[in-house]
């Protein structure tokens, strides 16, 4: 067997898994998730910026599309807390959270080997939720590169706009802007579909192959989300100024939860 046939066999095997997985999926729901990915990607970086593309709202909406809003909360809530410190300020934009969240929720509902529950405080579901969150984080980081690439192409289109400085055709600006909007929507749709394919076809089935130690480690991961949110707020606003307020909130939270 030569190297080419080995690579070919591996490629077929790689494509076969997700293809089989996808064949069993309800296509109208997948289509709706992809459309949601396009819309919320537009909202996240291009038009409106209403924050409906943030992980928690996006997760809830994706859960609603799949008929299981609780799965949306299970993925969206911890991921929201994990990424609370990511500021979408111009160049410092990090992570492509929209497609990762929607694909995370979609795969959890449509292809998960077991129900994914809110990254709560016990039970089997926590390990699977942790594993899913790892995949969502990886996809979000990978997506950031694609967003930066897209922004690089904006520069080329912006240069095209210089022609208007000579011929005075201002409608060119609207055309270029529309091109950017369409690219963002297309990017959102393609990335959501690809992320869904990867999570449903590879990532979630892998969970059952993990050794016990790894599943126990995955079960610990969702517990990181709330402390990360506190650390992010303290860091963003400066610990020196914020520790009194955070400590007051902590005491209030402890008392309220203890009584409740």
């Amino acid at each position: 067997m030569n190297a080419a046939s080995v690579v070919g066999a591996l490629g077929l095997a790689a494509l076969g898994g997700p293809a089989t997985q996808l064949l069993g999926m309800p296509w109208p729901t997948v289509g709706l998730l992809v459309a949601l990915g396009a819309l919320l990607s537009l909202d996240d970086t291009a038009w409106g910026q209403t924050w409906l593309g943030q992980p928690l709202p996006a997760g809830l909406l994706a859960g609603l599309v799949c008929g299981d809003p609780q799965a949306g909360v299970a993925v969206g809530l911890p991921f929201q807390l994990v990424t609370l410190g990511n500021l979408p300020v111009g160049q410092s934009f990090t992570g492509e959270k929209v497609s990762a969240t929607i694909a995370g929720v979609g795969s959890a509902v449509l292809a998960s080997p077991a129900p994914v529950a809110l990254a709560g405080l016990g039970g089997e579901a926590r390990g699977l939720t942790g594993w899913l969150l790892l995949g969502v984080c990886l996809l979000s980081l990978a997506g950031n590169k694609i967003v930066q690439l897209e922004r690089g192409t904006h520069f080329a289109w912006m240069l095209e706009g210089h022609r208007t400085l000579w011929d005075g055709r201002v409608e060119r600006f609207a055309r270029l802007q529309m091109r950017c909007l369409l690219t963002t929507a297309l990017r959102g749709a393609v990335m959501t579909a690809a992320a869904l394919l990867l999570l449903a076809g590879f990532w979630l089935p892998l969970y059952q192959q993990l050794p016990d130690r790894a599943t126990r480690a995955c079960a610990l991961l969702p517990l990181l989300a709330p402390p990360m949110a506190v650390a992010a707020v303290g860091d963003l606003l400066g610990w020196r100024h914020s520790w009194r307020w955070i400590a007051s909130g902590l005491v209030a939270g402890l008392l309220l939860a203890w009584r409740w």
């Binding site: 016990g122 506190v230 860091d235 955070i246």
Partner: protein, 261 residues
């Protein structure tokens, strides 16, 4: 028929027709769509100004001048951009009436007001309102009321659309006087309020979470210790400006070590 009144010879603004304003507003919502690392929102700004330029039916040399003036580096907070865009429309009209004598003033206005609003917007929106609102939504979801959390985000969505419309109208009405509006202490009070709400909510969420963790039979004290210890390590990594996703991934080796014990 031009949509804005050009007959006045004083500095009072004309009136933007509702349709023209809606068109400018819709394009101003896409200010970030063509964000590029070199000139940031310049294409977005020109797309927002383009309906006004078209409606004014300016002669070609004037169109070129307006485009050259504004197709430079431009960056501001998208939620407060309406104030700059409205102010620029007003100043461009005044400049036109003054026969182009205010060219420099218009350019300085754009740069300085955009910078001031970028700074205010970063403090108020990104560092104040966003964490506060999202933490409140997370708290509601944690309490089993995710739809209330979604409603909160929906209310913000509608509110910011209104703010951007209002910003356009106010900016156009005030023109250069936007500077007075920016110096009002209310901005800083709002920033402080939002940031304190974020801190309080973060603390409350953490407190409630720790109690729930300690009470849970499947978690218990060891989980509380892990959560606190790993949280401190994550805090250090976040301080190094690593994105949250990467910090979460870096938690895996730590969790593997703990799971092996």
């Amino acid at each position: 028929m031009p949509a804005a009144d050009t007959s006045a010879s004083d500095s009072r603004p004309g009136r933007l027709s509702a349709w023209l304003m809606a068109e400018i507003w819709a394009w101003s919502l896409a200010l970030q769509a063509s964000w590029n690392p070199q000139r940031m929102q310049n294409l977005g700004l020109m797309a927002a100004l383009a309906p006004w330029v078209r409606h004014r039916r300016l002669p070609l040399p004037n169109v070129r001048r307006v485009c050259r003036r504004h197709y430079e580096y431009f960056n501001t907070n998208p939620y407060l951009a309406g104030f700059v865009v409205g102010g620029l429309l007003r100043l461009e009209e005044e400049n036109e009436r003054a026969g182009g004598r205010l060219n420099r003033q218009v350019a300085v206005f754009r740069g300085s007001v955009a910078r001031a609003l970028a700074s205010l917007g970063d403090q108020l929106i990104w560092l104040g309102l966003q964490p506060a609102l999202l933490l409140a939504a997370c708290g509601l979801a944690w309490l089993g009321r995710p739809w209330l959390g979604l409603a909160l985000v929906g209310a913000f969505a509608l509110g910011q659309l209104w703010l951007r419309w209002r910003g356009l109208a106010v900016g156009y009405r005030l023109g250069l006087d936007i500077v007075d509006m920016l110096s009002k202490p209310g901005w800083h009070r709002a920033i402080r309020g939002c940031q304190r709400a974020s801190m309080l909510l973060a603390g409350t969420l953490a407190g409630a979470y720790l109690v729930a963790l300690a009470k849970s039979p499947a978690a218990g004290g060891a989980a509380v210790a892990w959560s606190l210890g790993a949280g401190a390590a994550c805090g250090y990594l976040l301080h190094r400006r690593l994105p949250g996703e990467l910090v979460f991934l870096l938690g895996l080796p730590l969790a593997l070590i703990l799971a092996s014990l």
